[in-house]
Symmetry: C2
Subunit: 338 residues, 2 copies
């Protein structure tokens, strides 16, 4: 007997508490519709470090330390950190945690990392391994552009379906506590890799939407619930293109997403005014929207039942140059105030 | 109350069974001292694929499918695959699992990935989330060389402390079963990131040895055991340099490693005859030695108590170019036939 329901939704024996959380973003995100909600920001894209990569690690350190301070604990009181990012060999995370003596599990889930880490952290708490576990991730527009696309100095033209990597980071601390005012994780649905043959690296929404449709359909079937049972169903960063594709794909399966559905990539920017084309992307997109906006709104009882589903495009520049299509994945976490 | 002992060793409620395992290697590994033990090999470095990266994914698919076939199950009978590799964005793993409909958690732990994945898979089994979970990883000399160092065609000179990335892959399937003839995982000790300031990318043994010393010392203290209580203590791929450093570092802490200690990087090659300098490295090194040699020898009762500790160097080429030192990590798994 396991805690599994149906095809692969996992119900925690005791709901896992989100005890603390923190967010940090850059200037462009500060100027967006959610700007006032983030815990911290910097108008310096280097965050006073000497490279974009170091700036990314700095953001992670800021939110990690903030969460530790909020809880008035020391790193020794935390069992595990689950962290990952988009940099080659997940260097953003590896360097952010090296001064924090906590047992570390490095992840790579592309833009799905926030839910991936949250699921695994929650499993270690509910499985009896941890009193406290952390999920942490980040992305940075400048470190991502030069690694995945072109040097910024080149000033390349962006296609209409392209997304803008969010400069931001988010961190959650999960625990065995049971404070009625804090959001709880009731269940989760880890994703399956799904590749429908999309090859355009500038249309990652299309590459990820089928994975999101698959995970959401599995979750709703497993739990025998409907989209309208939730106050908010939010995808990681499908952007405006992927968001519409998700609606279309689910409609074919008889599932209609109503106005409870939104996407972190379209929430974080005013796509038109801020010239970001299809919206935001990057691990830091869903991580900062979750920790800066969604979780605080849950504590204010604006949202009581939230499905947070982050999506990842699992290619690298070489696989695309070698003609491969783009595998996608989507991990789902159910946060609840009830 | 958690399953934690001391500083961070986790004792499973019920020992987790290693139900099946498989290994695959390339020609050079086949010609090494452990050559006859591996399940499969190819004398074609492309494994009949059209790129080295695709060859790496192919190896993972081979061992994954072998394990599924050994157990006479279908992918639907497995709850989770934990996999990662050295390629940018862990592409080796992302592409290897896309035809296998199993919930997937992508990892990045550099050469520590085999123990990292095994620990997390075991936690999901013992935590009540999975009946069966898989840990999978790989590395390929040719894909690693061109990504981390130089194009092969350049024919660069290798330094004496450098290691040779193993072309190989390994896979274990863990389960709730309880067959007396199969190895069990009794406990584990996840690693903490440790950076002692080593900056030489060609001396990764030195960068990783302090992390290995820290994890092994913590584990022995937590469990109140001594090195001689184990038939085999094996590090992932410290190589000949790191192996000696580990002995020296532990001696300072009053721990003497005897002849029970070895390293997968020095076991897999005849370092002198095969001209691999300090030995083997890469995620596939410890993964193929574990699944090809150690676990089978345990089933023959040659080893009854084994500490398997994989080590990872968590830099990327950019962080080294930016003058950063190399953070290390070491994850430990205790396999037992008792």
């Amino acid at each position: 007997m396991t805690k599994k329901i149906g095809t692969g939704t996992y119900k925690f024996q005791t709901p896992v508490e989100v005890s603390a959380f923190s967010s940090i973003v850059g200037q462009k995100e500060k100027e967006g519709p959610l700007g006032k909600y983030f815990h911290k920001y910097s108008n310096d894209e280097y965050f006073k470090q000497d490279s974009f990569e170091k700036a990314e690690s700095f953001m992670q350190k800021e939110v990690l330390n903030d969460v530790i301070q909020q809880e008035k604990i020391s790193p020794q009181d935390i069992e595990f950190i689950f962290a990952g990012d988009l940099l080659n060999q997940c260097a953003g995370s590896n360097f952010s945690v090296r001064d924090t003596p906590v047992q570390f599990f490095g992840l790579y889930g592309a833009c799905s990392t926030m839910a991936e880490g949250t699921i695994l952290a929650a499993m270690t708490v509910d499985g009896g391994f941890a009193n406290r576990a952390i999920a942490l991730t980040s992305s940075h527009f400048c470190s991502a552009e030069r690694q995945f696309r072109f040097p910024l100095e080149y000033g390349n033209q962006r296609t209409p379906t392209s997304q803008w990597t969010v400069t931001g980071s988010g961190c959650v601390m999960l625990s065995k506590e049971n404070d009625a005012n804090k959001p709880k994780i009731k269940d989760c649905c880890p994703g399956v890799v799904c590749d429908m043959g999309i090859t355009d690296m500038n249309n990652m929404g299309a590459a990820m939407a089928p994975a999101a449709a698959l995970t959401l359909k599995r979750y709703l079937d497993d739990t025998k619930t409907k989209p309208e049972d939730y106050d908010l169903i939010v995808t990681g960063d499908l952007g405006s293109q992927g968001k519409e594709l998700l609606r279309i794909l689910l409609k074919k399966d008889g599932i209609t997403l109503g106005k409870e559905y939104d996407d972190c990539g379209t929430m974080i920017y005013d796509c038109e005014k801020q010239d970001v084309h299809a919206g935001g992307s990057g691990c830091g997109c869903s991580a900062s929207v979750l920790t800066g906006y969604i979780l605080p709104k849950m504590m204010q009882m604006r949202y009581k039942e939230v499905l947070f589903m982050t999506t990842g495009a699992l290619m690298n520049p070489n696989t695309s140059l070698q003609g491969e299509s783009i595998p996608g994945i989507a991990h789902l976490v159910h946060f609840s105030m009830n």
